[in-house]
Amino acid sequence: MMRPSSSRPLRHALAQPSALRPLPRTSRSLHSTCYRLNGHRASLEGSSTVNADEIAHFSRLSSLWWDETGEFGMLHKMNPVRMQFIKEKLLEIRREETDDDVEEGTVLRGLDVLDVGCGGGLLSESLARMGATTLGIDASESNIAIASLHASADPSLDITSAALSASSSHLYPGVKGKGRLVYENTSVENLLARRGPASFDVVCFMEVLEHVDNPRAFLDSCAQLVKPGGHLFLSTIARNPLSYFLTIFTAEKLLRFVEPGTHTYSKYVNPSEIISYFQTYRSPLSTAVRSAGTPWIGRVANGVPARVEAETRGIIYVPWNGEWRLSPRGEGWSEWCNYLFWVRRPKE
């Protein structure tokens, strides 16, 4: 069966119910609920880019997150490619800046990483295994529950989700390479309000942007959370007839590979749109730095940003291999459907 290159849409829910409402710069609500066994109900009414319908959709599917041959199979297959891209870019920049030989396996070790819209925790677990101190957030309470439950079964993950933290760390002798992992049922706006800007070395939001109602506002919140010199990674779907054909017509309508209604064509974002967003985006004034920052993307030639500032790379599903492939740099046509994007916050 031809599996079209639609990602299994992760609907992490991040958009407001009434679209087009402008995003407030400061979040109004502080309702972020750390997932606990004794359980608080998450309340996200006050947050701004979370879309209630999207949350409902993904909450309904939440128990299927870890069925690798089911609904989210394509996403499981996509995960290694995302990790590859994240590792490659971090390594490239690290090597650019130090003369020391940086080992590939250690590039994420000790970094503070935020995974926005973590869903069942596919990416978060991988990040934590690579040694990153990982925070996965999702607006769906049941996603967070599923993610915590799954991670607690894995002794290589040090999941500090309230009561479990005590047990999992010394449970099994001989466990190596633990990564710290925390899940939280909150929105990115709430997190920003609580933790303040410049809190993370790496912020990721994979297959999330196409599910939010106000992408500019969402991008803004995510970008604020990045430390100077830190990295922002995202993956999403470009908006053009091909991507409509593959992700909506073929995947949803024809093959029913993805539940109809998963994708909304108008919410797709083109690489050029993200690039131009970051060409004008400057980090807001902070107390430490008096002057406004420089734009995140300063140099663009023929629509391609400088390699050390930002990069887009297409990812293509190869049905006969049953794998996603990260396209080589400069293969522009490959970005016509699913693509990854990386940008770095200037050091200032």
Binding site: G39, S126, H150
Partner: protein, 568 residues
């Protein structure tokens, strides 16, 4: 596919979580964690452990445990005098050797006990049609190779792998311990295998590897079915002693295989004066051959490589008759029979075809000596053994559902007829592919026990193994017949094959003599195997055509070979 959405509310999950947390405390006293648990300390399991032990990523982030019921310290201390050999010998292909070098195990192999194969001679026992492969003709991938493969005692290889493993701190080798049961720990809805060992330990495995042979308990646990059948054939192995080759001939580096209707007999050189035999034959013949005196078996082996097929059939009958009569045939009786048959075929007692040649090793050897293995003089005591041959292939290499986090390698995944000497090589290739798959997944932070992480292994090996296995199976069946049209067709097949570089190169690859690289355009096992399949198919077609004018078949075959060579 309709997805039944099992609605797990946050509340029920929380309940579940606290319950499982309580259970974790209860069981934490004796449950250990291991990332990779390999069950079975045979060559494939040891090679996987060795490959994992040599990967830096694995060393840093994982714990690997190998469990073997037998006593591995005996294997580690295994020693034989230089002129004695174990009867289990495998043809290690260049590809397998390269893999063993890469993981640092080959340097522990005692090379003085191994025999290079520089040439292979294969012939049809009925028609005499013959093909020859030699390393000198090999220049695939622009690289010349000095040997087609290297005959190595399995114990020599296992000892090397064990010594290599001693260096590795990330691999724990547990021997003399049985896996008593495997249960499922599915507290979070994702099942993890729990191994209960005979020494009381309980290990929770992220990934459970079945390297536990044909009757794999891991395969049973994983709920994976295996498809196959037993051939009506047993393989007899023995270590043969013979005089060194005369200085006028190439040294003992030629492997010989004759296809008899009862099954192929192979002569595999391991030193200048010793070789191993693998004789596949009908079970009742195998029993009779095992029961006779060693000197009788010696003459039978010599005859099996030389005497015309019709006379071999006669000797088989005599042997069975005497065996069933309770008075096994004596050496004198057999020699008399052989002499008589040779005489009636007008085989001169001094020719290369004579099994009882008086022409000693001294002097110039008779013409055609290089077409036959050296005359066997004796058999190393205690090395005659036999085993049933079977074809089996697991439906899948990776467990799903209840049997998640399991994977099969080596004989647990597949068993194959030994005629191409591929069994062990397929197992080593599995180990190499699985180690790579684990390495790749781990270096991207993946869960190496997950289905998605294991898929690349399955994709890399399943179809490759299947092609090789079915090609070998077809060859076995093809040569088990004496029906004239088929014998004729296959002889043409073999002789035409001798003329065709492409086909030969492909066949040599199928014998595993060249390292496979995945670059397009290189001849891989795939082409080789499909070539064999095509030959086999065209010949079974020939069976149907049967009486039809031979020209039709011939042109069909020619066309086939043209297609094959132009495919290059």
């Amino acid at each position: 596919m309709l997805v039944t959405t099992q609605r797990l509310t946050a509340k029920t999950i929380r309940k579940h979580l606290s319950r499982s947390a309580a259970r974790q405390y209860a069981s934490s006293s004796n449950v250990e964690h291991s990332d990779v648990v390999i069950v079975g300390g045979g060559p494939a399991g040891l090679a996987l452990a060795g490959a994992l032990g040599s990967s830096k990523v694995v060393q840093e982030s994982m714990r690997v445990t190998l469990i073997e019921a037998g006593d591995l310290s005996k294997t580690k201390a295994w020693q034989l005098p230089p002129d004695a050999f174990s009867n289990r010998v495998s043809s290690i292909t260049n590809a397998s050797q390269q893999f063993l070098r890469n993981i640092g195990a080959w340097s522990y192999v005692d090379e003085t006990r191994t025999g290079p194969v520089e040439e292979m001679q294969v012939w049809d026992g009925v028609s005499g049609a013959r093909i020859t492969f030699s390393a000198a003709e090999m220049s695939l991938g622009g690289q010349t190779v000095s040997e087609l493969s290297r005959l190595t005692e399995n114990l020599n290889l296992q000892r090397a792998l064990l010594r290599k493993l001693e260096e590795s701190s990330s691999v724990e080798v547990v021997d003399k311990v049985k896996v008593e049961s495997i249960t499922t720990d599915d507290r979070e809805g994702s099942p993890w295998p729990l191994l209960h060992l005979s020494d009381g330990r309980v290990i929770r495995a992220r990934l459970l590897v079945g390297a536990d042979g044909f009757n794999s308990p891991v395969r049973t646990y994983a709920g994976i079915q295996s498809y196959g059948w037993a051939y009506d054939t047993h393989g007899i192995v023995a270590t043969l002693f013979h005089a060194p080759r005369s200085p006028f001939m190439t040294p003992n580096t030629v492997a010989y295989q004759r296809f008899l209707p009862t099954g192929p007999i192979a002569f595999l050189p391991i030193s200048e004066t010793a070789s191993t035999m693998v004789w596949s034959t009908k079970p009742h013949l195998a029993n009779a051959l095992k029961a006779v005196q060693p000197s009788v078996l010696v003459d039978m082996v010599n005859a099996a490589f030389r005497l015309p097929e019709v006379s071999m059939r006669y000797l088989h009958d005599r042997l069975i008759e005497a065996h069933n009569g309770g008075t096994p045939i004596t050496s004198e009786q057999l020699r008399e029979e052989i002499l008589f048959r040779e005489h009636s075929h007008s085989i001169d007692t001094h020719s290369a075809l004579s099994s009882l040649s008086a022409a000693a090793e001294a002097g110039i050897p008779p013409e055609g000596s290089e077409s036959y293995p050296p005359l066997v003089k004796s058999i190393q005591p205690g090395t005659v053994a036999s085993f049933p041959l079977r074809f089996s292939h697991a439906d899948s290499y990776v467990g799903e559902g209840k049997g998640s986090r399991t994977v099969l390698i080596g004989d647990a995944a597949h068993t194959v007829h030994p005629l191409a000497g591929q069994g062990l090589n397929l197992g080593l290739a599995d180990a190499e592919a699985l180690a790579k798959c684990i390495h790749d997944s781990a270096s991207r932070g993946g869960d190496i026990g997950s289905y998605t992480s294991l898929m690349p292994y399955s994709r890399a090996r399943y179809f490759e193994n299947h092609k090789m296995m079915s090609a070998v199976d077809k060859l076995h069946k093809l040569y088990s017949t004496t029906a004239m049209p088929i014998v004729w067709a296959r002889s043409v097949g073999l002789e035409v094959a001798n003329e065709l570089d492409t086909l030969k190169a492909a066949l040599m690859v199928s014998a595993g003599s060249h390292r496979l690289d995945r670059t397009p355009g290189s001849i891989g096992v795939g082409l080789a195997a499909s070539t064999l399949e095509n030959v086999a198919k065209s010949i079974s077609d020939a069976q149907v055509v049967g009486q039809v004018a031979s020209g039709v078949v011939q042109s069909g075959l020619q066309q086939l070979f043209r297609t094959l060579s132009s495919r290059r």
